[in-house]
């Protein structure tokens, strides 16, 4: 396959940035999207150019490190797929592909397609945990958990923290990310003691990081590689309201 790539290049946070066009040739349809970029980067290095910086690590769709807006869609058009799991067979030979970083004020660009998502870590710091020091736990079977609750908690807990939800949201909201963690822990008995404080602290932190509000457009869940359901946001709002009316 031969492709034309239009890639966002930005040398650092202070640089204004611009789209740069590259041609890539002899791309195998069995390559992953990132392998296609590897091929381009190997060429750029040898030509003495600066290769395109992008985040990636596990390349099997679970670490959450990779992520780019491909043809205007976070992680590309294939549903429930991270950028690293997207393969070139889904593109037409001769296609033009635009590649941009996540764009949201709380995710400043570090370089090219690399953004700073440390705001997500700070949302977890605010309360996305159960306070249980190592060694203090009772026997695992002392508290049975309904299978349905455990399964729903798991569904919410599969969030990989990639940030696609923010990139896709017209408001730049981190509601789906925050709600996924709140819902995961709210559904389990172990999460109950801190439940309302957790919701309040995490939502307040999310707001203070500069993420926008949720207006139920649902773009977040549409691009989410793990299909985190939108109703987690309802759960978050319910817990948050309860916390504030106490």
């Amino acid at each position: 396959m031969n492709l034309t790539l239009k890639v966002w290049r930005q040398s650092g946070p202070q640089d204004k940035g611009r789209m740069v066009t590259y041609r890539v040739e002899d791309i195998s349809p069995d390559m992953s999207f990132l392998e296609m970029l590897d091929v381009l980067n190997e060429r750029l290095i040898l030509e003495g150019d600066d290769p395109i910086a992008f985040d990636h690590d596990c390349r099997e769709g679970i670490c959450g490190m990779c992520g780019m807006v491909i043809n205007g869609v976070a992680h590309g058009e294939q549903r429930a797929t991270t950028t690293c799991q997207l393969h070139m067979r889904h593109f037409e030979d001769g296609a033009e592909i635009t590649i941009e970083p996540w764009r949201a004020a709380p995710f400043p660009v570090v370089k090219d397609l690399v953004v700073d998502r440390s705001s997500f870590d700070r949302i977890i710091q605010a309360g996305g945990f159960v306070s249980v020091p190592a060694g203090s736990a009772p026997d695992a079977h002392s508290v049975p958990v309904r299978k349905e609750d455990a399964d729903s908690a798991f569904d919410a807990a599969t969030c990989i923290g990639c940030g696609a939800c923010v990139a896709a949201c017209p408001n730049g909201s981190a509601s789906l990310f925050t709600a996924a963690k709140i819902t995961h822990l709210s559904l389990l008995p172990q999460g109950q003691p801190e439940r309302l404080n957790r919701a309040k602290a995490m939502v307040d932190q999310m707001d203070s990081e500069g993420f926008g509000g949720c207006t139920n457009t649902g773009e977040c869940t549409a691009v989410c590689p793990k299909g985190i359901p939108l109703d987690t946001i309802a759960q978050m709002n319910a817990d948050y309201l309860k916390a504030n009316s106490k």
Binding site: I62, Q125, G135
Partner: protein
């Protein structure tokens, strides 16, 4: 490559006496640090996977002043997150005859009698606490309708002791540790530095007193000092370039600690996982594992005839060779990883492999779908089938999967004693980065167990005994400056070459060489060839590598080049270790040492020891730690 043999090495920390009392005894004899003193003690933890994340969180909870580093943009990304199958624990919730002793026994046997009994017993003991801890943190393990935890049997175990969270157990356990870590960051006991790569250990007056790191965004070289340093930087499987490891996994942290005096134990013990998606082309950047649980229902086969080009569906039953079931009737498709991997290699070497290049075997669900129905198969393996289809474009409900072995885990690592302390006082090593518990072969679902055992329960106790003598006062400025200069000059050297080949092209070539000569099957000839070729390639690397950009910016080419440079040196030691160990054991198969059936043949007379390598200016020095088996009788493994 020349080496000399030095004095034997001993673990002096494991107490004597009945094995079930040793950890209890050590916990009691380990000195405690007064709570008021803990906050005056600084501990550095490098790496935030299961071992590092849980250790940093727990040390923070205990009140130490912790600084943590990871190369990713968040501690949640560490590669523990990709573990699929599950975590073993001797809970015996099924009443199926499991016990701490049985998990201990299985692990010693599975490791082919090349692990320490004391360590393995402790691991089995602590395993039960891990499940309690994880559940209390809200890890959403699979449950049954009665509300209790579900378990499955895994990787050849005959009891059901593996706890799991669908195919994402590693993710859920890591997020548990990550959340505990973030809680301590918020509490101020842990300071986190993401996008920082450790490039050296500072050793001052014989003690590990800090690290030199590079800020991967600004390029700044920083010094961080402490009273103890913990390395939790994972394994070195990426020396093969293609592996199931994350792209960033590397050996630099443990290798540079080795250069500073930490012994490297059993570097040749690598685990090749039998069920990975085969290589599809030269551009391949990594390999993807398909969970071993697939072998519970999938049947492995190849055509009976060589070079059979027919589509799998056109090959009649009597022209298929279900070779695992044929050779190992008792365990069939569930034989341990090393055995399944080598059997796949053998049939492919015979010219009966399938797919591109003949490097693949079928993993067929046709019979399972007939027996259980498509829905039941989908329920069990749906996410794995989807993953397979996403990568290969083939639908495994209709066409058998193609699988091939790939490098997955490294049992070798820095030598540690029972306290998980390396040969450098104050330098502790946990998780996959150390060598301690898996012997020559790791059992499925035991990596998560070991990482969390080390991080939550073992290290936080044993490090106290060392820190009870601290704080250790001023760090020698000369030692810090020397380490900084060493790091900077290596970076400058890489940038100065300005040759015509990229770091990745060298890495690929090194990886291919290691796979061919020091992979699933090793011979004296292949290893000697590798030991000849590696120095040549390394020399070419230092004369012809091209690293673009500068040191003072985010420079991913420079990061990779530094790691590849260390992989060369490690590769050489791996091949030497493999050459010296003329026996076969676990994941280390020397073709010269096999029985009449082609099975691995140990030589307990000569090799019942850990090989701990010291790096000296005069070349490697081998220190042997004899292994004694008081409880589990040494036998030849048999899965027939």
């Amino acid at each position: 490559m020349k080496y000399t043999e030095g004095a034997p090495i001993q673990d002096t920390k494991a107490p004597a006496g009945p094995i079930e009392e040793r950890w209890e005894k050590r916990k009691f004899s380990a000195r405690l640090v007064n709570p008021a003193n803990k906050r005056k003690l600084d501990v550095i933890v490098v790496g935030t996977g299961l071992a590092g994340g849980s250790a940093a969180a727990t040390l923070g909870e205990l009140g130490y002043n912790v600084t943590s580093f990871c190369y990713q943009d968040s501690p949640r990304r560490a590669h523990s997150i990709a573990a699929q199958g599950g975590i073993n624990a001797a809970k015996n919730y099924r009443g199926d005859g499991d016990s701490i002793y049985r998990l201990f026994y299985d692990t010693v046997k599975g490791g082919d009698f090349r692990a320490r009994e004391s360590n393995v017993y402790r691991l089995a003991q602590v395993s039960v606490n891990i499940i309690d801890q994880a559940v209390a943190q809200g890890v959403p393990f699979a449950r049954e309708y009665g509300g209790l935890l579900d378990t499955r049997s895994f990787g050849g175990a005959q009891v059901s002791r593996t706890f799991y969270a669908r195919g994402q157990t590693g993710q859920q356990l890591l997020l548990g540790a990550y959340q505990a870590l973030e809680r301590q960051i918020a509490a101020g006991t842990v300071t986190m530095h993401t996008r920082h790569e450790m490039l050296d250990v500072i050793v001052s007056e014989g003690r590990a007193r800090g690290v030199i790191v590079r800020d991967m965004v600004t390029g700044e070289i920083e010094r961080h000092l402490a009273d103890a340093v913990v390395l939790a930087t994972g394994g070195y499987g990426n020396v093969f370039f293609l592996s199931t490891n994350a792209k960033g996994c590397n050996t630099t942290a443990i290798w540079r600690a080795h250069e500073r005096g930490a012994y490297f134990a059993n570097p040749c013990y690598t685990q090749i996982h039998p069920t990975c998606i085969p290589v599809s082309g030269d551009y391949q950047s990594k390999l993807t594992l398909m969970s071993e649980s697939l072998r519970n229902d999938g049947r492995v086969w190849v055509p009976l005839r060589k070079n059979d080009e027919r589509a799998p569906g056109d090959i009649p039953e009597d022209e298929r060779d279900y070779y695992l079931e044929r050779i190992y009737p008792a365990f069939g498709n569930l034989v341990p990883r090393d055995i399944a991997s080598r059997a796949a290699k053998n049939v492919c070497d015979e010219g009966r492999g399938v797919g591109p290049g003949g490097l693949g075997v079928y993993l067929d669900f046709r019979d399972a779908i007939d027996r259980l129905g498509r829905d039941a198969v989908e329920k069990k393996y749906g996410n794995l089938f989807e993953m397979y289809e996403r990568i290969t474009g083939e639908n495994p409900y209709d066409v058998p999967m193609r699988i091939y072995p790939a490098v997955h885990y490294t049992m070798g690592g820095l030598w540690v004693d029972y306290d998980l302390q390396s040969t450098i006082p104050g330098l502790f090593v946990i998780g996959e980065a150390n060598f301690s518990d898996h012997g020559a072969n790791r059992l499925g679902a035991s990596a998560l167990m070991q990482g969390l055992a080390d991080g939550y329960f073992v290290l936080p106790t044993t490090i106290g005994d060392y820190l009870a003598d601290g704080p250790f006062g001023e760090v020698d400025e000369e030692a810090v400056a020397e380490a900084e200069i060493k790091v900077r000059s290596k970076i400058d050297r890489l940038l100065a070459v300005n040759g015509t080949r990229t770091p990745d092209s060298f890495h690929r070539e090194l990886g291919k060489l290691m796979w061919d000569y020091c992979g699933m099957e090793r011979t004296e000839e292949s290893l000697r060839k590798a030991l000849e070729r590696i120095p040549e390639l390394r020399q070419e690397f230092w004369e012809n590598v091209k690293v673009s950009g500068t040191a003072e910016e985010l420079n991913q080419v420079l990061e990779r080049a530094g790691r590849v440079a260390d992989f060369f040196d490690l590769a050489e030691l791996m091949c030497l270790d493999a050459l010296v160990r003329t026996e076969s054991c676990g994941g280390h198969f020397r073709a010269e040492s096999q029985d009449a059936d082609g099975e691995a043949l140990r030589d307990d007379e000569k090799f019942a020891h850990v090989s701990a390598w010291e790096r000296t200016p005069d070349g490697p020095v081998l220190h042997k730690e004899p292994l004694e088996y008081e409880y589990v009788k040494m036998t030849q493994r048999s899965y027939k």
